[in-house]
Amino acid sequence: MINLIRSLGRWGLGTFERQGRAHLFLFNMLLGIPGLFLRFSLVVQQLFSVGVLSILIILISGLFVGMVLGLQGYNTLVDFGAEESLGVLVSLSLVRELGPVVSALLFAGRAGSALTAEIGLMKSTEQLSGMEMMAVDPIRRIIAPRFLAGIIAMPLLAAIFSAVGILGGFLVGHGLLGVDDGAFWSQMQAKTDLYDDILNGVIKSVVFGFVVTWIALFEGHDATPTSEGVGRATTRTVVHSAFAILGLDFVLTALMFGDE
């Protein structure tokens, strides 16, 4: 009985400790960002591995998500004779929800896990402590550039996802199902608002980029420095990122679109 309480207490304290470390880590990362503008090539390097290498999966998934939306939406809308609204359906669902959320999930799987594994391996091979020995702050030199790159890359990836998805919806709607292309675009333009829909979508993706990169870097930095520990940290990154994305998406959606 005493042991149970003791382990419960240890678990609770451990959770709080991890939370505290994660936030201190975030604070240190944010402190490291201003110095990066003097050495922007570090960020560019990371933008390549975080952003450019994720483009392919974003392009292909976006195209197929848009095409599926086109097909499914058409089947429902045609019953009401409203198949011209297909453009609105595709654009709003992509710009508001699917673009930011699905690309953030893909980003967590593609780039977040890679970041965790990279940082975790650096830790387990003692490269991070080596840097500290040389009086180089690994948080500023290694982690902050990755963090900034993640925040920059995520909204761009989400925008690419949405744009390609709308094109995919158009291809299916116009090319395959014969929806009038003028009505498709004009109804989309009439119902999609620059601030309410597109800007809010961009805000969402910035928030997701922030959270996913933070989780990935922290898990890597906090991993047990063994191959098993790094593996577990990578798994945790993907799982926790998915939870954070979906939970935050609900909160953000309630804040942005809840009062309509």
Binding site: S41, V44, Q45, L47, F48, G51, V52, I55, S91, V95, I152, A153, P155, L156, L157, A159, I160, S162, A163, V164, I166, W185, M188, Q189, A190, K191, T192, D193, L194, D197, I198, V202
Partner: protein, 155 residues
Amino acid sequence: MMQNKSTEIFVGMFVAAGLAALFMLAMKVSNLGDFTDETGYQVTAEFENIGGLKVRSAVTMAGVRVGRVASINLHPVTYNAEVTINMYPQFDNLPLDTSASIYTAGLLGEQYIGLVAGAEEEFLQDGDVIDLTQPALVLEQVIGQFLYSKAEGDE
């Protein structure tokens, strides 16, 4: 060095593609195009009932869009809906006795204001009021009236 160069090129292309996608979303998908000529003049109209009219709903004349609804308020004295319309500047020759009605696009579509030109020689100016208005058709009222007149006819 070579490796570094191509990395930079790819990153540049990535950022350019992302910005192009954002630009396409803004220009092609959203209603940004409508914002460009919003420096028109404003007129107001009072309606008994505006139904489902919203801010930014379309204002048309003969089916051509001539403006947008800028704001909707409740008149404190008459308890009518006071709708401010932002007219596009190129349509500055509408007669003073133009009338406004609220229509529905299609059976279930959005509601919009339709203007019909009058015969007055003077034109609507900034701050003018459209006096001749016709409220939105509320489906329940129409059905109620229909049932009422039907019942009367039976007797």
